[in-house]
């Protein structure tokens, strides 16, 4: 239940109802597609039906003959008007390959679904029909779809001119791994296959670009997590000045990384508006949204243990099928998967090789977890496998190998510096939350009846708030706090909300720091002409850096207000009390002033009682988390994260051995996100990520045929979980505040997809262990599980 709060109490730590949740409930939230402007035109994009093909010619004359069409142009024409799309994260900075990324295919299409031509018309239906009248002459090439084929010797290069298809190879090595493996008592190898699943927010992407004739500039209403960095991309791609671009990220209907920029449609739709001098809107179809991939990778995890079950070495070799080149930051997930090894485990000797491989599949974009979820999946499946092979309980093996609570700050073998944590405590809390022993007993009883219950546990370490030097992925952010002459507050912040209600968290923090009623606070996000320069939403950063900067700015403004209040009351500032909007002083018992009266005086009496301050009542401050270190250490390593949230997920399931169907029986998570600003909102993040990870492990799968043609085109094929699929989730907090961040914040939004997916796979393997089934390939569809059961026991299957 939401708590009511009197003005004098603090808001932080309470389940304050999200102000921004009212508008969607009455149908009045303004999502990007809800904006329509005078003279509005609509775009439809014609896409390549081939995964790889030479484009011999594009004839748009048929489209131009359709009544209501304003523009129909091909990739070459767009090329002439634009530069390559600026990379969100340029792989060349990290020693990888780079190429010019056109808004549309020019001579060659390099994946199914790549834009080839675009039509702009009076309405969507006309644009779609006209696009069907465009004639494209292709010569199909043999597509490179499989990652093994892409890395094979002599493979055709997906990008002409590249000597091979590896976009980037990154090794993470430390210690003497060979010696550790040579001396080990046990080496357990686990081959983990993670499939292609993406975040699929309920709102697809939408861009509505307006050419502003008066200022010769562009206003883009867009589903965008990072408005300021996108502004630079649009400017560079369209050869305009950055100050001629305004991005407005309105209410966002979910993002989870998919709305991080680099998409070709972003500059493309802006170009259409510029060429036509009219507003142009494009709405992504679900089929188009399903082109966007993530996480398709295979791991070969080798863990070396001594005779006591202590991990002494870790190897992994990862091949990731990242699809065609893209300006989106999806490829960087592969880098992060390696950087986050070996997760929560204390092992110095590591030898991890990450290969991000280009193919003729559509490209990735960022997805919740940003590669760190894949670390969790690979490590946690391997830990359970090791526990089984070593004859140790998976709980004990983890407890034996966790980094100890008193070892923080902890220097990881990849150069990360984990700020704080109590990993054993989090695990035990999760087990208590689900009643682990109770389920163990039920499992044993069920097995006697011939029913297969399983309990799976997985840990996820989620570095949050990341920043990469030399890129527009920044570690800091800025906010403005402005108190008006009537005592009401406007907060402007560089962080954006993908639908998490982080504006309410900002308001809670501002209300506490200013000492005002939260109802007096309005928060604005996502407008580059209004907000301070900011980097938006990614990497679980919003409340860490947004909240920190709001707090600093609010403290500055509060100091000004206090100074004026003290001057008005003729007392010292440190004698002031502010209770329920009324200032009083311990030095003067009878005199009081309202907060609003003090604010009014601050604006209007600048030459007498407010001489002591610089008006207006406004401050802009930046929070730069001190934990980040970009200066390389003696090994050349940096610590790009200020914060290391962590969590344990537990899944209890029952497997129907006749059908292979998995039923979820009980779920629990214990989470360390530092100080919880708003419990009901954090619980929402935990539960949402849990469902997303379970969906990924069970049924979400974007499939292509052997020619690289997309098979998964709707939610009929891409099966996300529905309400009945998910039993109640027990959520517990076990917080070790980050010693470096405001209020000890660690971030709550990114964690969960990997931990929950891994816990599910571990639960199924636990359930089917009596049958000798062991699966490390996702998703665990009924057919895959049923086949594994049939093939178990040396092909004997179940009796």
């Amino acid at each position: 239940m939401i708590e009511d709060k009197k003005e004098s109490e603090s808001y932080v730590g309470k389940s304050i109802r999200a102000k921004e949740a009212r508008a969607p409930l009455i149908g009045k939230a303004k999502y990007t597609n809800d904006y329509t402007f005078s003279g509005q035109l609509y775009a439809h994009i014609l896409r390549s039906p081939h995964a790889a093909a030479k484009i011999n010619s594009v004839d748009v004359s048929g489209a131009k003959k359709v009544s209501g069409v304003h523009l129909a142009i091909c990739g070459q024409d767009v090329f002439n008007h634009t530069n390559g799309i600026t990379d969100h994260l340029n792989p060349a900075i990290f020693g990888g390959k780079s190429t010019r990324l056109p808004c549309m295919a020019v001579d060659e299409a390099w994946c199914y679904g790549q834009p080839v031509a675009i039509v702009v018309a009076e309405d969507e239906r006309t644009a779609r029909y006209a696009a069907s009248r465009i004639q494209v002459d292709y010569t199909p090439l043999e597509p490179i779809i499989d990652v093994e084929k892409a890395v094979a010797k002599g493979a055709r290069s997906v990008v002409p001119g590249w000597e091979d298809n590896t976009l980037i190879y990154v090794p993470f090595m430390n210690g003497d791994t060979q010696a550790a493996f040579d001396a080990a008592s046990h080496v357990i190898t686990t081959d983990v296959k993670i499939h292609r699943f993406s975040s699929q927010p309920m709102e697809t992407r939408c861009y509505n670009a307006i050419w502003e004739h008066d200022t010769e500039s562009i206003t883009l209403y867009g589903t965008c997590q990072n408005p300021h960095p996108l502004r630079l991309v649009i400017a560079e791609t369209l050869r305009m000045n950055e100050n001629k671009i305004r991005i407005i990220a309105s209410t966002i209907g979910g993002a989870f990384g998919l709305k991080m920029h680099g998409h070709p449609e972003e500059p493309l739709i802006c170009l259409m508006a510029k060429l036509l001098g009219r507003p142009v809107k494009w709405v992504e179809s679900r089929e188009e949204c399903l082109l966007i991939g993530a996480r398709e990778q295979q791991h070969k995890v080798e863990m070396a243990f001594d005779s006591d079950g202590v991990m002494v070495g870790l190897r992994d070799n990862v091949l990731a099928n990242i699809g065609a080149p893209s300006a989106c930051p999806g490829w960087g997930m592969v880098f992060l998967t390696g950087l986050t090894m070996p997760g929560p485990y204390k092992v110095e000797n590591i030898d991890v090789h990450m290969n991000a491989v280009t193919t003729n599949k559509p490209s990735w974009n960022a997805a919740r977890g940003y590669g760190k979820e894949s670390t969790a999946i690979a490590l946690e499946l391997a830990m359970d496998n090791a526990a089984r092979q070593l004859g140790i309980s998976p709980i004990d093996l983890r407890l034996k190998n966790f980094i100890a609570k008193d070892s923080f700050p902890y220097n990881s073998p990849t150069g990360l510096v984990y700020d704080s944590g109590d990993y054993s405590g989090v695990l035990l809390k999760a087990l208590e939350t689900i009643d682990y022993q109770g389920w163990k007993d039920k499992q044993a009883a069920a097995l006697i009846e011939g029913r297969y219950l399983g309990i799976g546990v997985a840990f996820e370490l989620t570095p949050e708030g990341g920043t990469i030097p030399g890129t527009m992925v920044a570690g800091y952010d800025s906010s403005t706090v402005r108190v008006g002459p009537d005592g009401t507050v406007r907060v402007l912040t560089g962080i954006t909300s993908p639908g998490t209600h982080n504006a309410t968290a900002m308001a809670q923090i501002a209300a506490d720091e200013l000492g005002v009623d939260i109802a007096k606070i309005e928060v604005l996000q996502g407008d580059t002409n209004a907000s301070p320069y900011g980097f938006g939403n990614y990497s679980g950063r919003s409340t860490i850096v947004g909240g920190g900067s709001v707090a600093l700015a609010a403290q500055d403004v509060r100091a000004k207000i206090n100074a004026v209040a003290a001057a008005l009351l003729e007392v010292e500032p440190d004698t002031l009390n502010l209770v329920s909007g009324v200032f009083s002083s311990s030095a003067k018992s009878d005199a009081t002033l309202t907060f609003a009266e003090v604010c009014y005086a601050s604006y209007t009496r600048a030459y007498d009682v407010a001489m002591c301050i610089d008006p207006p009542l406004e401050a802009t401050r930046t929070f730069k988390p001190p934990g980040i270190r970009h200066t390389p250490d003696e090994n050349g390593r940096i610590n790009p994260y200020p914060s290391y949230s962590n969590a344990v997920y537990v899944v209890v399931c029952e497997v129907d051995t006749d059908t292979g169907k998995i039923d979820l029986l009980s779920l629990a998570a214990a989470h360390d996100c530092g100080k919880v600003i708003n419990p009901i909102l954090v619980e929402g993040q935990v539960c949402g990520a849990f469902a997303m990870g379970l969906g990924g492990a069970l049924s979400e799968d974007i499939q292509y045929d052997a020619n690289g043609v997309q098979l998964t085109k709707s939610f009929k094929d891409y099966v996300m979980l529905r309400m009945a699929d998910i039993p109640p989730i027990g959520v517990a907090h076990h917080d070790c505040p980050n010693p470096d961040n405001y209020l000890g914040l660690k971030g709550a939004g990114e964690a969960g997809v990997g931990g929950s997916a891994a816990a599910l796979v571990n639960a199924v393997n636990d359930a089917l262990e009596p049958l000798g089934v062991l699966m490390h390939e996702m998703p665990l569809t009924p057919s895959r599980v049923w086949s594994a059961i049939q093939n178990a026991n040396n092909g004997e299957g179940v009796n």
Binding site: I2, A18, L25, R133, G499, T500, G688, S714
Partner: protein
């Protein structure tokens, strides 16, 4: 010039209490008409295949997916969208208030469809079981909440709408 010609039909809709007479082309959906002709932007496009439920409205008191309902098939119909639930003074319907209080939405894109589906359920069934709620909301996908807070919101709405429930629970 090639003109796109299509047959059209005259339909009469009462949408959230307001009467509209519209000439609609054969290919247009109820969602198109609600959003583009009547300005009911609270009804959302999520998939265009009827799977996600973001477009859910009530047609003559029963929930339906407006993205796969051809407008021309509705010669006369009473439509309720999420925008029609407020009371005369602009106050929230108890079910809207429950979703707000219990954080039954995050990004809110699915919320209009989910609230209407829940309303249809609790109007007929004052004491829905967990299974009843799951069945009633099976047509809607939510990507943010993991559904926990949605279940709680529906249960809370029943308590508020039918105070006698408190004794039963």
């Amino acid at each position: 010039m090639e003109d796109l010609l299509d047959t059209s039909a005259l339909i009469q809709l009462r949408v959230d209490g307001e009467f509209h007479e519209l000439d609609v082309l054969a290919g247009r959906t109820l969602l198109d008409v609600l959003r583009d002709d009547i300005g009911k932007k609270g009804t959302h496009l999520g998939c265009k295949t009827g799977h996600c439920g973001a477009c859910t409205v009530m047609i003559d008191g029963k929930v339906a997916k407006s993205c796969i309902t051809m407008a021309a098939t509705l010669a006369r119909a009473e439509i309720t969208t999420i925008e029609g639930l407020l009371d005369e003074k602009g106050g929230l319907h108890p079910i809207q208030q429950s979703f707000w209080d219990e954080a039954g939405l995050q990004c809110g894109y699915c919320a209009p469809g989910i609230v209407l589906s829940a309303l249809e359920l609790v109007t007929d069934n004052h004491h829905p079981s967990a299974e009843d709620i799951e069945l009633a909301l099976a047509g809607s996908l939510c990507r943010c909440t993991g559904y926990q807070s949605i279940k709680r919101s529906v249960a809370e709405a029943c308590v508020r709408m039918y105070p006698a429930n408190e004794n039963i629970n």
